[in-house]
């Protein structure tokens, strides 16, 4: 997809207006997965706005976001970064063969301590 | 020269141009002259002298003379003209009542130096170029003039008259003098040595006030030391510091006004080199704020009534030498 359309697509999916961001960094400050991300929530917002989206799509950070919505809750300007990350993730998954989680991976991930529901929800989230 | 000056004095008096003449009158001894106000040509002819002992700076007398009726003629040596000019700058002299005659000066003698050579009972001294023919009651003696020149004349700063109405003889020039050498020598001593030096000198002070009374810069209507209301009035020394206090304040009061005429040291009966204190201020002013000679330029601002935003800090005085 062309850069410009890509940005429009993401904004359409998420319903987020990244221009509202005032670059305060509170989203990243509140993010529980911060340490595990290459691109942090504020960078998602900033880079989507500047159309620099491909690095985001290639980044593993997409799957480190827990969608806990702490950033959405705390953003002073109601930019809702998590929705934006979700939109980027969806853009990736919707491409052919880009499912992040495949059903045949699941048996290996079974774990006594992990509720099965978590895997089900991950499956829904990371796959078409 | 004495002859020329006498003739000028007589001419001025006779012509009615002036009513009085301020000059030097012979005293009991050859070397003992007093400033005197001559009222008639006869008096001039009889007792007016001008020679190696006519050291007195007559400019200060003009303050009082200017208050009287009539015009007074005054004979001023080059260094006296600086004092005269400075006093005019301070509005202390009524200029229109003064007829100033500049006269040359070849340096004045210090009687103490002659005495130190063991010369006693002086009758007359004849100047013959660089030598002096001294006739005493014990016979005649020849001495080199430079050996008996007063310190201020040995380190003469200028032979130029800065101000006069007429000039006798030829005009001289501002000289390069070594007058700050002795200050530098003192500056190089340690603090203790300097203290000992001044303690020795100033402890001899008897507070006779001669230095103040002769000083052409000390023309206050009433001196602070005589003014009971000033809070620092004091007439007698009592301890080591009193003299310092007096001399520091006196020197400070004449900062930027002292022309370095050296009268204070000349008249000191105790032989204290008081001019060194004033000269230290002059040296500092030259070094810190640029060369300044009191009495030289009537329009120039004196260093203490002037400033620059870039002036050095008081603490910096001690930094540069170390």
């Amino acid at each position: 997809m062309e850069q410009k359309n890509l940005k429009e697509e993401i904004l359409r999916i998420s319903g987020v207006n990244p221009r509202k961001c005032m670059k305060c960094g509170k989203c990243s400050g509140t993010c529980p997965s911060y340490e595990e991300m290459d691109f942090h929530p504020h960078q998602f917002v900033y880079m989507v706005e500047s159309g620099d989206i491909e690095p985001l799509m290639a980044s593993g950070s997409l799957y480190r976001c827990l969608t806990c919505f702490a950033c959405v809750e705390r953003c002073p300007r109601q930019v809702e970064p998590a929705k934006l990350i979700e939109a980027v993730r969806l853009t990736v998954i919707r491409q052919q063969g880009q499912n992040h989680l495949k059903p045949d991976q699941l048996p290996g991930m079974l774990d006594e301590d992990m509720p099965q529901q978590a895997l089900v929800s991950a499956m829904r989230k990371f796959a078409k | 020269m004495q002859k020329v000056i006498r003739e000028k004095a007589i001419e001025l008096l006779r012509s009615g141009k002036v009513d009085r003449v301020l000059g030097w009158k012979e005293g009991e001894f050859f070397y003992d002259q007093t400033p005197h106000l001559f009222l008639s040509p006869e008096e001039v002819e009889r007792t007016f002298v001008y020679n190696g002992f006519s050291g007195a700076n007559l400019s200060k007398y003009l303050v009082k003379e200017g208050l009287k009726e009539g015009v007074v003629a005054v004979f001023l040596k080059p260094c006296d003209t600086y004092s005269f000019s400075q006093l005019l700058k301070e509005h202390r002299i009524a200029r229109d009542k003064i007829w100033a005659v500049g006269i040359p000066c070849e340096g004045k003698l210090d009687i103490e130096l002659l005495r130190k050579m063991g010369i006693r009972g002086i009758k007359t001294i004849e100047e013959k170029g660089d030598e002096l023919l001294v006739s005493t009651i014990y016979g005649e003696k020849t001495v080199a003039k430079k050996d008996v020149l007063a310190e201020r004349c040995a380190n003469c700063k200028s032979r130029k008259h800065v101000l006069y109405d007429e000039l006798l003889g030829e005009e001289g020039e501002v000289l390069d003098s070594a007058r700050f050498d002795q200050i530098e020598k003192l500056e190089q001593m340690t603090s203790e040595e300097r203290f000992a030096f001044w303690q020795n000198e100033l402890s001899r002070c008897i507070r006779c006030n001669a230095c103040r009374n002769v000083c052409p810069a000390c023309t206050c209507e009433k001196c602070v030391f005589d003014n009971a209301d000033s809070g620092i009035a004091s007439k007698a020394p009592a301890s080591s510091f009193e003299e310092q206090n007096f001399h520091i304040i006196r020197a400070f009061h004449v900062v930027g006004r002292c022309t370095d005429c050296g009268e204070c040291s000349r008249v000191c009966p105790q032989g204290i080199p008081l001019h060194l204190i004033n000269r230290k201020f002059i040296k500092d002013i030259n070094a810190f704020y640029g060369a300044y000679q009191a009495g030289e330029n009537p329009d120039e601002r004196a260093p203490l009534t002037n400033y620059s935003t870039e002036d050095m800090e008081p603490g910096d005085v001690f930094k540069k030498g170390e």
Binding site: N17, R19, K20, M22, K23, H42, Q43, Y46, M47, S50, D52 | L67, E90, H91, R92, T219, C220, E221, K222, C223, V224, N227, D229, S230, G231, I232, H253, V254, R257, R301, A302, L304, T305, N306
Partner: protein, 663 residues
């Protein structure tokens, strides 16, 4: 002998905790002349003041020593109390045993000892105190405003509105100042001319206001309430009264190649000119540097076309002497010189411009008629880069300023927004270090630029601008994304720092008003007296005091006017009581004191005296004008004879304090 009362304050435990107040009171009670002593918890309270008043009455005190907090805190309180009890308020001295004793010492013994010594010094001083009365001086009920920008205009209008006469001195041919060059104003985006020019007309039509345009202040003498100002009216070679402002001369003048300063040199005007259509006064001025007639004596076209016969090539500078009660400084600002900022290529490319130049380019009355065009080739720029903080917030060493210029964030947001509104196809980048938008509706304004108009705000500074093939290559950093950017811009706009006008420094010297290192006028108090200079009678309006936007400038201008009106409303001013005075019998007339007086308060006169020896003598003596003297005491030390002394801080009083401390 004085009868002195000593009052020792506990200040709750502030003093009493470290100083044995009872011991202090008792020790001081034993000092000679002390007839009453007392200690109390809060001397400054009503009850405490009553104690002082009662003691003064009951014990017939002639003086009082209060051992308490700093005199800077309560000296006036206690002086008023003493005056209420019937003794002169200057018979009160404060021993500062709080700020300078109990608060800085922990050891009670040494603190108590010190408090006693400080008390003794105060007692020693009171012994020598004499009742002082402050003199009064009349007030000339007219004001002078220096500078005819929006600050000066507003101040003048407000003062005139209160019924006082005002003169405005403006060095340019017209009033209006920087605001007249601006296109639109933030945050409301109304056009500057639409709100400024009616005010300029008000000024011209106000009967109480006179405008001295093309004039400068030449000399200032006098003091608060009684300034004497000499105003130089520069020759404009046009009779202001006869000139109708028709402008025919400005069309016919053959000398067309004069850089137009009103448009910052972006276009050219004639040698005879009216700066802009709404100029006040609308009078032509001949630029002597370019006029062929004035330079060679051959031309005279303007004189021929002028129907009013207003042209006068022989006009000379004239001087107007006027008296004023108050002077308002409203000298304004200028953008700094950018020649030294090589990295932004300001001198290399005409397409690198300052924000003020941008204002002119976008102004409908500007050189391009309001169409945004590049100065170099007149094309429409497609990519514009704005750079903030050019020359602001720099470390002292360089050519920039240490302070924030305050207005740049807002006007840059305005420029960016207006550009995007008029030309949506233009890409706009703003490089910033911080975006500072404190002010009513300011941040919302900036957010609109970002959110509604899509201006790209990039955190980071531009490092280098290089002109290449008609483009401007802008290399900058993007700190959020952590990368370097290269933008091929068509136009670069620099938000140059602003600095006080060059005329401010010499003016400050004339007014004896103080300035900071940046040449901004210092206010009497940064918080509580922001529109007054420490020099009485001098008031500050607008950017001469510090960077300000228009709403703030107008607010300050009105505040300044209120202060001026407050001064002019008085018939008489009470002077400083602690002034220098000369003992005429001691004065030598040497003029030393006169030379060090910063206020010109000392003058000399010839007076006849009867001398102690019963003669009469005319002597030259100093006399101090108590209305002018501010009581610094420079003269007292300069005076060799000790004739000059200072009321309230006399030689003997200070020496008595010295003696008491060193005993």
């Amino acid at each position: 002998m004085q009868r002195i009362g000593v009052f020792v304050c506990w200040c709750g435990s502030n003093i009493a905790a470290t100083v044995d107040v009872k011991a202090v009171a008792e020790a001081l009670g034993k000092e000679p002349g002390v007839v009453y002593f007392e200690d109390y918890q809060y001397m400054c309270s009503e009850e405490g003041q009553n104690k002082i008043k009662n003691a003064i009455r009951d014990y017939k005190l002639t003086g009082a020593v209060i051992c308490s907090c700093s005199p800077r805190m309560h000296e006036n309180t206690f002086r008023k109390a003493a005056a209420a009890a019937g003794i002169n308020s200057f018979m009160v001295e404060i021993a500062n045993i709080r700020e300078q004793c109990s608060w800085i010492h922990k050891d009670k013994v040494s603190a108590t000892e010190k408090a006693i010594i400080l008390g003794r010094a105060a007692i020693a001083k009171v012994h020598l105190n004499a009742p002082l009365t402050a003199g009064e001086s009349p007030v000339v009920k007219r004001a002078l405003v220096i500078g005819g920008g929006i600050a000066g205009i507003q101040t003048a209008l407000d003062i005139a509105d209160a019924g006082f006469e005002v003169d405005i001195v403006e060095k340019k041919p017209t009033i209006g100042g920087k605001m007249s060059q601006i296109d639109k104003t933030f945050p409301t985006l109304d056009c500057a001319a639409c709100i400024l020019t009616p005010k300029m007309v008000d000024v011209a039509q106000n009967e109480k206001i006179r405008i001295f345009s093309y004039s400068e202040v030449d000399a200032v003498k006098g003091f608060v309430g009684n300034f004497k100002v000499s105003i130089r009216r520069k020759a404009r070679f046009v009779d202001e009264v006869k000139c109708t402002g028709c402008g025919l001369c400005t069309e016919k003048c053959p000398q067309k190649k004069v850089p137009n300063e009103f448009n910052l040199g972006l276009d050219q005007r004639r040698a005879i000119y009216i700066p802009f259509a709404q100029a006040v006064p609308k009078v032509a001025t001949i630029d002597a540097d370019y006029c062929t007639m004035l330079k060679t004596g051959k031309c005279g076209v303007c004189s021929k076309v002028c129907a009013a016969g207003a042209i006068d090539y022989k006009q000379k500078d004239t001087f107007v002497e006027e008296e004023y009660g108050a002077i308002v400084v409203a000298t304004g600002f200028n953008p700094i010189e950018l020649k030294k900022y090589d990295e932004f290529a300001y001198s290399q490319s005409p397409d690198v411009i300052t924000s003020l130049e941008f204002e002119r380019i976008t102004n409908a009355a500007g050189p391009t008629g309001g169409t945004l065009l590049r100065p170099s080739d007149g094309t429409h720029p497609k990519k514009i880069v704005f750079v903030q903080c050019v020359g602001s917030r720099e470390d002292g060493g360089g050519c920039g300023k240490t302070y924030c210029s305050k207005i740049c964030c807002m006007y840059t947001a305005k420029h960016a927004m207006l550009t995007r509104e008029k030309y949506p196809d233009t890409e706009v980048y703003v490089f910033y270090i911080d975006v500072r938008t404190p002010g009513k509706s300011f941040d919302e304004f900036y957010r609109r630029a970002v959110e509604e108009y899509g201006v790209h705000y990039v955190k980071g500074m531009v490092g280098k601008v290089s002109p290449e093939n008609g483009k401007l290559m802008v290399r900058a950093s993007d700190l959020i994304e952590g990368k370097q950017l290269n933008i091929d811009a068509d136009l670069v706009v620099l938000a140059a720092a602003i600095e006080p006008d060059q005329s401010a420094r010499p003016l400050a010297t004339m007014l004896t008003a103080s300035m900071d290192t940046n040449d901004f006028f210092t206010e009497a108090h940064p918080k509580l007296r922001p529109v007054e200079s420490p020099t009485a009678g001098i008031f500050l309006s607008g950017c001469c005091q510090g960077p300000k936007d228009i709403p703030e400038t107008v607010a300050q201008a009105s505040a300044c006017a209120a202060k001026v009106i407050g001064l002019l409303a008085k018939d008489k001013l009470t002077c400083n009581a602690c002034v220098a005075h000369s003992s005429e019998m001691l004065c030598n007339g040497c003029s030393t004191c006169e030379k060090v007086c910063p206020y010109g308060a000392i003058s000399y006169e010839e007076k006849e005296f009867r001398m102690p020896d019963r003669t009469t003598r005319v002597r030259r003596v100093a006399s101090v004008n108590p209305a002018v003297c501010q009581g610094c005491g420079a003269c007292t030390v300069a005076c060799p004879s000790g004739a000059m002394d200072l009321h309230g801080f006399s030689n003997r009083q200070i020496m008595a304090e010295v003696d008491a401390i060193c005993k």
